[in-house]
């Protein structure tokens, strides 16, 4: 229960941060990605602000094996860089550039009742399901 309440709180603050920062607005995100047009550097400031806080948090987390609520730290140890990571990132970036939505802002805009965000989120979930189906088929093929 504590775990879910902390999750709800984190999700809410994350969403409010996206709204305050202007990142829930795809047009503003595209203004950052359009480096050849009139460039809006705001997104870099959002990332900068978040990372400064995050650096402190991860420095604390690194020295702990359990969280402040007593849960095991579940930080993925992966360090390898492979084709899946790069091609996945490229595909995500292409989709991000088409509409100006990444997953968080898409969900916030959905919560704001935007019909277009509903279509984006539904397509994104469909994409995630396609990934699961392909992965399962591949896992079966290699057995």
């Amino acid at each position: 229960m504590k775990y879910s309440i902390a999750s709800l709180f984190a999700g809410l603050i994350f969403g409010l941060g996206l709204i305050v920062s202007g990142m829930a607005n795809p047009e503003k995100v595209l203004g950052f990605l359009d480096i050849a047009g009139l460039w809006d550097p705001s997104l870099a400031f959002v990332m900068g602000g978040a990372i400064v806080v995050g650096l402190g948090a991860f420095a604390v987390a690194r020295r702990r094996t359990v969280s402040f609520l007593g849960f095991n730290m579940k930080i993925p140890p992966h360090t390898h860089i492979d084709k899946r990571l790069i091609f996945g990132g490229l595909a995500f970036g292409a989709g991000w550039g088409i509409a100006g939505f990444c997953p968080g802002p898409g969900l916030v805009a959905l919560g704001a009742g935007e019909a277009k965000a509903v279509v984006f989120v539904a397509s994104m979930v469909a994409g995630m399901i396609i990934f699961e189906v392909i992965e399962r088929a591949r896992a079966r093929a290699t057995v």
């Binding site: 795809p26 899946r84 990132g89 989709g95 979930v125």
Partner: protein, 145 residues
């Protein structure tokens, strides 16, 4: 030569919103011991495991509920979605497949991964940023949409 859009550049609210996002990721990490990666939190619901569902839904309720909470105190800023429906479908599919293959999005790799100085997340962030810049360049300046 880069022309800054001074009319739409909002450094203070961007910085403040970024700090809030950082605090959200920090509280999730320090309270629950997890990375606040939104694509991973959502994607994990598609292969549900016992005891691994409620907190994911709680996080998403918080995120999706943020505009409603915001509107208790203030008017919601404009959300301008200029992409048409076919483009939104293509974008959604690419974001869905891409974030799962790449094991993360702007939050997990971009914010959390860079905060923990992960080279893997840096590689992912450079990949999606590069693809984003190129895609917008092609759409706006080559195709002229």
């Amino acid at each position: 030569m880069i022309d800054i859009a001074w009319g739409s550049f909002t450094p203070w609210s961007a910085l403040f919103g970024g700090i809030l996002i950082g605090l959200a990721a920090a509280s999730f990490l320090l309270l629950n011991g997890r990375i606040a990666g939104i694509s991973g939190i959502l994607g994990g619901l598609l292969v549900p495991a016992r005891g691994d569902i409620a907190w994911r839904i709680a996080f998403l309720i918080g995120l999706i509920g943020a505009p409603t909470v915001w509107m208790l105190g203030a008017e919601l800023p404009a959300i301008e979605i200029n992409a048409g429906y076919p483009a939104l479908i293509a974008a959604g599919l690419l974001v869905g497949v891409g974030t799962r293959y790449g094991s993360g999005c702007t939050s997990g790799h971009g914010v959390c991964g860079l905060s923990r100085l992960s080279l893997r997340s840096l590689a992912a962030t450079l990949s999606f940023m590069a693809a984003g810049f190129v895609t917008v360049y092609i759409i706006r300046h080559v195709l002229g949409v």
